[in-house]
């Protein structure tokens, strides 16, 4: 009997003037692979951030792994974050550290005190980190600086870092939006493979309908901070997803925006968005 690992009830989030999330209800069972689909600004990142306690709700409840996340503080919040892996769109590796040390930072929640330098981590964890690097196919890069890798490789390192947490849930916020189509394909396949092997629950935000349909077991659609779609992908076509979007879109302008966005998203996975990071790393 599957038990829910994520339960979001009537979640509202307001930033100054914008209502980023309104009345979101979402239940996800252990082992599910869920795609969050939505246009830019629809609240995907905000929802994911709530699940990891990186954002506090304006009202409503967020239960993750049996814990009421907004109530957690200090050590207990960090312990929960340790059980939930998070993969970012811009990878967010420390450019000047080696690949291996970046992976090791995933184990910080289980360690006490500050760490800097490979020697400051126990050998047991180093072996585990190398194992995860092997899993993502980058064992040979272990001692290279993170900023000497390509975007796709960096995202695989970030996945290894999340695996280092030995997470029960993996959250991914547009993990391939900064990558070219080929690396996107690789990274998404990798996440799915790992999730299946380890029985992970995955929530991944995307904005390409095609990719979402091929990749997820279930699609959850957000629009303007509201949940407008929640359905298994089996037997679902792109046209139907578009239609659901169309039904809930109120203005024609909005419909057009959806169409261009969806067309753009599936035709090109904007690699130019990776550039600011590369520049930052060179500093």
């Amino acid at each position: 009997m599957p038990s829910p690992v994520i339960e979001v009830r009537d979640l509202d989030k307001r930033f100054d003037r914008t209502l980023a999330l309104q009345g979101v209800e979402l239940t996800i069972d252990r082992g599910e692979i869920v795609v969050l689909l939505g246009l830019s600004g629809s609240g995907k990142s905000t929802l994911l951030r709530h699940l990891d306690g990186l954002e506090t709700p304006t009202s409503g409840s967020v239960r993750v792994l049996g814990e009421e996340v907004p109530r957690l503080r200090g050590r207990r919040l960090r312990a929960l974050r340790g059980r939930v892996g998070f993969v970012f769109q811009q990878f967010e590796l420390v450019p000047s550290l080696t690949v291996l040390e970046n992976v090791l930072t995933g184990s910080l929640a289980r360690l006490r005190g500050p760490r800097l330098g490979l020697w400051s981590y126990p050998r047991r964890l180093k072996l585990a980190a190398l194992g995860h690097l092997d899993r993502v196919g980058l064992l040979d890069r272990a001692y290279q600086r993170a900023d000497t890798l390509s975007g796709g490789q960096q995202q695989r390192v970030a996945i290894a870092r999340a695996l280092m947490q030995e997470p029960e849930i993996l959250l991914a916020d547009e993990p391939v939006a900064s990558l070219d189509p080929e690396s996107s394909e690789q990274v998404m396949a990798l996440i799915r493979e790992i999730a299946m092997d380890a029985g992970l629950t995955v929530v991944c935000s995307l904005h390409q309908v095609d990719l979402a349909l091929a990749w997820g077991d279930r699609i959850v659609g957000l629009r303007g901070g509201r949940l407008v779609l929640d359905t298994p992908t089996e037997g679902l076509g792109k046209a139907e997803v578009m239609e659901i979007y169309g039904r809930v879109a109120t203005a024609t302008a909005e419909l057009e925006a959806i169409e261009t966005e969806l067309a753009d998203a599936s035709s090109e996975a904007s690699p130019e968005r990776a550039e600011p990071l590369a520049e930052g790393a060179g500093r």
């Binding site: 974050r81 930072t105 800097l116 064992l139 290279q144 870092r161 999340a162």
Partner: protein, 554 residues
């Protein structure tokens, strides 16, 4: 702000000049402009009042000639003693800088807007950075010499505490400019605040921290000679003793050693900075290992060997520096009992035998020295800096020559130059001003050259296209675009000059420093406090002015 043109019917009759919109700068800009003009006038008066002119400089040349015939040859301390003194000087400077470097980490953490735990902490940390920077290290040394009497601790603590301000300010600036992403990733993985700092932030700012610390170490070595005048052991003390006992040949010998030491240190630290910048990114290629166990042994690639060797060499040098100081650690325990009586001697502030007009006159002379030096530096740096700018220099050779000249000047320790000039020309304030002015050219010229190279190329090309000459293009397009930055650099220069000018008097360069040294040597500590308060007010006022000007003319 611009006003609208007059009503249309009047416009037909009115001339173009009348119809043109009126330029109305903001009141703040007007005030800043007037202040700027007043400062330029004040600088010219300062030059005049200090008696800096070509004839007087020529006259001082004959003074110098006479001096050298009188002194004869230059002599050095015994070789063994020389080695000991050099080691002690380096040890005190390095240990002091290290102390500041360590203290600066928590202070910068509290002072940076993105890491501070709260506004109260931030204000406290900012106060420490501003205050320690404004308090001259010589004054700190005076106090610590009283507290510790003998040994190296007074020098270490004076250098250390004074350096905290600059290092933590630059470190905090670096922390504020980090990429927040890696830090967010550590937080998302469940890291604590401290782990966020060490794993997410520190690796990003470490290179800039090391560069700042090395730079500060150079400054401290240059300044350490003045600490000798108030009793801090090392080459500076040896030199001040020699000059006091009129043993000029030995004094000059020590000055030459000190000079060489500063140049050497500068070469080493810039080599280290360059190696860090370029070598830091070196990265071994892919690993040959195919199993996890094999990969656990990190291969000894060239870059790993280099990093390890240099790491151990650095550690050995730092331990050596501390060991050479032969620190009386016990003093750090017993000193607390001495603090109340010593503090009581420094309070209340008073002018003692001096009166207010005398002291304010001395302070004004210090300000005059700083202003005059700044204006001389500026004139020279605009000329040299322009030739050092790629878009102004007539050919690459000229640029390279000018850049080389600037690097050379930057290598000259200005305090030691001031001491030597004062001794051999017999002129106090003038020699001090010239030394300060010369020393400033190195940095100001580089900053100006960089700013001129950063101006937009479009306007320059447009002016060239109208058929203007090189010089016309420089005056019409390059200089106006670079002007705000040059004004900013000028105030930075004034800010550092004021700090330097206050201590110049200690080595005979005129101004308030002379009275400071006198009061300290005569045990009139109330007077020391009064003078320090005057210096603090002046330094903070100039710093505030500099910040304001840089904001207005950005």
């Amino acid at each position: 702000m611009t006003a609208l043109a007059p009503a249309p019917h009047a416009a037909t009759a009115a001339s173009v000049a009348e119809r043109a919109p009126k330029h109305r700068p903001s009141p703040e800009r007007i005030a800043a402009g007037l202040t700027l003009a007043a400062l330029v006038v004040a600088s010219l008066f300062a030059l005049n009042s200090l008696g800096i002119s070509l004839p007087s400089m020529l006259e001082s040349w004959s003074n110098a000639e006479r001096f050298f015939t009188r002194v004869g040859s230059i002599s050095f301390p015994e070789p063994l003693e020389l080695v000991q003194l050099t080691a002690l000087t380096l040890g005190i400077v390095v240990t002091g800088t290290l102390f500041a470097a360590i203290c600066s980490v928590p202070i910068a953490y509290l002072a940076a807007s993105n890491t501070t735990p709260g506004p109260g902490w931030r204000a406290a940390a900012r106060f420490i950075t501003v205050f320690t920077r404004a308090l001259p290290d010589v004054v700190l040394a005076m106090v610590f010499v009283l507290l510790f009497s003998l040994g190296s601790l007074p020098g270490i603590l004076a250098i250390g505490i004074h350096s905290i301000g600059m290092i933590s300010k630059l470190f905090a600036d670096a922390i504020e400019q980090i990429d927040e992403g890696p830090r967010r990733a550590v937080r998302a993985a469940g890291g604590s605040k401290l782990q966020e700092f060490t794993s997410g932030i520190l690796p990003q700012v470490l290179p800039s921290w090391v560069a700042t610390v090395l730079h500060r170490n150079d400054i401290n070595l240059r300044g350490s000679v003045v600490l000798g005048y108030v009793g801090v052991a090392g080459l500076g003390l040896e030199m001040s003793h020699a000059f006091k006992s009129l043993n000029y040949s030995l004094g000059l010998g020590v000055a030459i050693v000190m000079f060489a030491l500063c140049v050497l240190m500068e070469i080493i630290s810039s080599a280290v900075r360059r190696a860090m910048l370029h070598g830091g990114r070196a990265s071994g290629g892919p690993l040959a290992a195919t199993t996890v166990e094999a990969a656990a042994r990190r291969p000894w690639t060239g870059s790993r060997v280099r990093t390890t060797v240099w790491g151990w060499v650095t550690a050995a040098l730092l331990i050596g520096a501390i060991a050479v100081c032969n620190i009386q650690w016990g003093d750090l325990v017993t000193v607390w009992a001495k603090i109340p009586p010593v503090a009581a001697q420094f309070w209340p502030p008073s002018f003692g035998a001096y009166d207010w007009t005398r002291m304010s006159g001395a302070m004004l002379e210090t300000i005059a020295i700083a202003l005059a030096a700044a204006v001389l530096t500026l004139l020279a740096s605009i000329v040299i800096g322009s030739f050092a700018a790629r878009n102004v220099a007539p050919n690459p050779g000229t640029r390279a020559g000018a850049r080389f000249l600037l690097v050379g000047i930057r290598g000259v320790p200005e305090v030691i130059l001031a001491i030597v000039l004062i001794v051999i020309t017999g002129l106090g304030a003038q020699a001090g001003t010239l030394a300060l002015a010369f020393g400033g050219i190195g940095l100001a010229g580089k900053l100006i050259a960089d700013s001129l190279e950063e101006v937009k190329g479009g306007p320059e090309r447009a002016i060239t296209a109208t058929g203007a000459s090189r010089f016309q293009r420089y005056a019409a397009a390059t200089l106006p675009q670079g002007a705000p930055a040059i004004i900013g650099h000028s105030f930075y220069l004034l800010d550092t000059n004021i700090r330097a000018a206050t201590i110049l008097g200690i080595v005979g360069g005129g101004g308030i420093g002379y009275y400071l040294l006198n009061a300290g040597q005569g045990s009139n500590y109330g007077v020391v406090t009064a003078i320090v308060l005057m210096i603090l007010v002046t330094v903070l006022a100039v710093e505030g002015l500099a910040m304001w000007m840089r904001r207005v003319f950005r």
